[in-house]
């Protein structure tokens, strides 16, 4: 036993994700059946009691989010975020490929809870095969009659990381440029086409059926008490098993690397690990004996984010990696606000200079100042998080930077 715990992926490769009948045979759509006998408020209470928190990165209480939707609004929407743009992340794709019906069931339960008749799945443009899979899965669920009058439409993105941000995603579904909106108002009050909208991540929705079926207490008892359940992780970098795993949320990062991951390639030593995709902090080896749950990661100045785990061995040039990441953000900044548009540009410029051996100590100090400005003044999470990988590499690996300065 390697300590994996499979809930969402229990029947991976044993059932056809497109077929509702397959899913029903292994207990699927029981949660929805239960939800139909409950009042909307009771469903929301149950989700609150489960302590489920969003798996899309921000870790917000799902039940709470649903409870903000005004009861009496005539039209509401359920939106699933399948934009999955964090480099090194492919867990939402895996959940769709292995258990797409659970996602549909979770959305249908949410629709009952908030009183919506229509749902959208926003799938990144890089996954055309998932769009086909989901359309077949929806058709199969419709034929089986399980969705009743709840309608789900799949929309495809077109290669923009920022569209994973919930308000940019909404703009994109509306057929516009995917630029984030000012918040408030939050989507729960004013979302898609100006009406109350719940936006949740694929993994969040996929947890819902199991909560309804097995009960909130059961879910709350798994993993870390304040961020319970499981988390699907994807491992990349200098690791022996670069694949995906589903673990209870109190699983240790060190075990992710050395047990599930099979350790560092070539028996080398760990240099650093970045959790949560390119917007995540770099974690030095002395901090890896930490549980992966949201709050434990925050305590060491990191974030669980999307659950991507990017491992670098001792031979890696971390300044070069941080420079590559700076380019990512420079490229993906939507340009709507100054701190991020200018900030990511300058940041990349300075990082390139340092990486090429032409940087000065002044550049390094300027990066740290700029980093604070961006974190405080950027409009959305992209600009706020962009400096974090750079700041944390300077913090933990300053000598690597010093060696490259003029």
């Amino acid at each position: 036993m390697n300590g994996e715990k499979r809930i969402l992926l229990e029947y991976a490769d044993k059932i056809n994700p497109e077929k509702a009948e397959d899913y029903i045979k292994v207990g699927g759509y029981k949660g929805l059946e239960k939800a139909r006998k409950m009042k909307p408020k009771q469903i929301i209470e149950e989700v609150k009691k489960s302590k489920l928190r969003g798996r899309g990165g921000a870790g917000f209480s799902t039940g709470m989010k649903w409870s903000f939707v005004p009861e009496h609004a005539p039209v509401k929407y359920v939106v699933c975020n399948l934009d999955e743009g964090e480099p090194g992340t492919y867990k939402d794709r895996i959940i769709c490929e292995k258990n797409a019906q659970a996602l549909l069931e979770g959305m249908a339960i949410c629709a009952l809870a908030i009183g919506a008749k229509k749902g959208y799945i926003y799938c990144r443009g890089e996954y055309p095969h998932i769009v086909r899979l989901l359309n077949n899965a929806i058709e199969s669920a419709k034929k089986a009659g399980v969705l009743e009058d709840f309608d789900i439409e799949v929309r495809m993105g077109a290669g923009a990381y920022v569209c994973g941000e919930e308000t940019a995603l909404i703009e994109s579904i509306e057929g516009k440029r995917g630029e984030p909106r000012f918040k408030p108002p939050f989507p729960g009050v004013e979302g898609l086409w100006g009406v109350p909208t719940v936006v949740n991540n694929v993994e969040t929705f996929a947890c819902i059926p199991y909560i309804l079926t097995h009960g909130a207490e059961w879910f709350a008892s798994i993993g870390a008490p304040d961020y319970p359940g499981t988390k699907v992780l994807t491992l990349t970098g200098d690791i022996n098993n670069p694949t995906y795993f589903e673990v209870p949320t109190d699983y240790l990062l060190s075990d992710v690397i050395y047990k599930l991951g099979g350790g560092i390639k070539g028996g080398r030593k760990l240099k650093a690990v970045q959790v949560g995709g390119s917007s995540g902090a770099f974690i030095p080896p002395e901090n890896i004996h930490t549980s992966i749950d949201f709050d434990s990661m925050s305590r060491i100045g990191a974030s669980l984010g999307s659950g991507a785990v990017f491992v670098l061995d001792e031979t890696r040039d971390i300044v070069d990696v941080a420079t590559r990441i700076a380019k990512f953000f420079e490229h993906e900044s939507c340009g709507k606000c100054n701190p991020c548009r200018e900030g990511t540009f300058r940041m990349y410029e300075m990082m390139q200079r340092i990486n090429a051996g032409r940087g000065s100590e002044e550049d390094l100090e300027n990066i740290l100042v700029l980093s604070r400005v961006m974190q405080k003044a950027s409009l959305c999470g992209l600009g706020q998080a962009a400096p974090i990988p750079i700041e944390t590499t300077i913090k933990h690996f300053r000598e690597d930077y010093m060696r490259k300065l003029m």
Binding site: A158, S172, E174, G175, R177, P242, Q274, V321, F328, H331
Partner: protein, 149 residues
């Protein structure tokens, strides 16, 4: 004869926010959005041309420039980067005789860079139109591209 621009766009006319879906449909046909098609879309969706253009140029998968029959995208996100994306890119440029952003003279291949395509289980990764090619190495380039020649 292929379909007219209007014929491709019309099915999305009454879809709320259907402009992006219409652009996808155009690209499936032409691999880019021709200027006249963009104008037609603006007319059908009753928005200014500048707005349609603004949407088309926001998304990296859409192009308003003519592109090749096959679009090769090299992932250069951090995981692929450390797995050797740089060498693969060099090999691609050499084999095709073009630089990033260019199209081969015969109109077959366009070479682009992209960020993580979510196939990080076997990197580095390139995509060729909708196909995903895993664990790419410089040596494998000729064999991979042969299929498309």
């Amino acid at each position: 004869m292929g379909k007219s621009y209007a014929e491709i766009i019309m099915p999305y006319k009454d879809k709320k926010g259907g402009l992006i879906e219409a652009f996808h449909a155009l690209q499936r046909e032409f691999n880019y959005i021709p200027e006249e098609a963009l104008k037609e879309a603006a007319r059908i969706f009753k928005i200014p041309e500048s707005k349609a253009y603004g949407v088309a140029t926001f998304y990296s998968h859409f192009s308003v420039e003519k592109r090749g029959k096959y679009i090769i995208r090299m992932c250069e996100s951090a995981p692929c980067h450390v797995a050797g994306a740089g060498e693969v890119l060099k090999a691609l440029e050499q084999y095709l005789g073009i630089k990033v952003g260019e199209t081969t003279p015969d109109g077959k291949f366009t070479l682009e860079l992209c960020e993580c395509v979510g196939q990080c289980q076997a990197i580095p990764v390139i995509t060729i139109n909708d196909d995903v090619v895993l664990s790419v190495s410089p040596e494998r380039i000729p064999e991979i591209l042969k299929k498309y020649e």
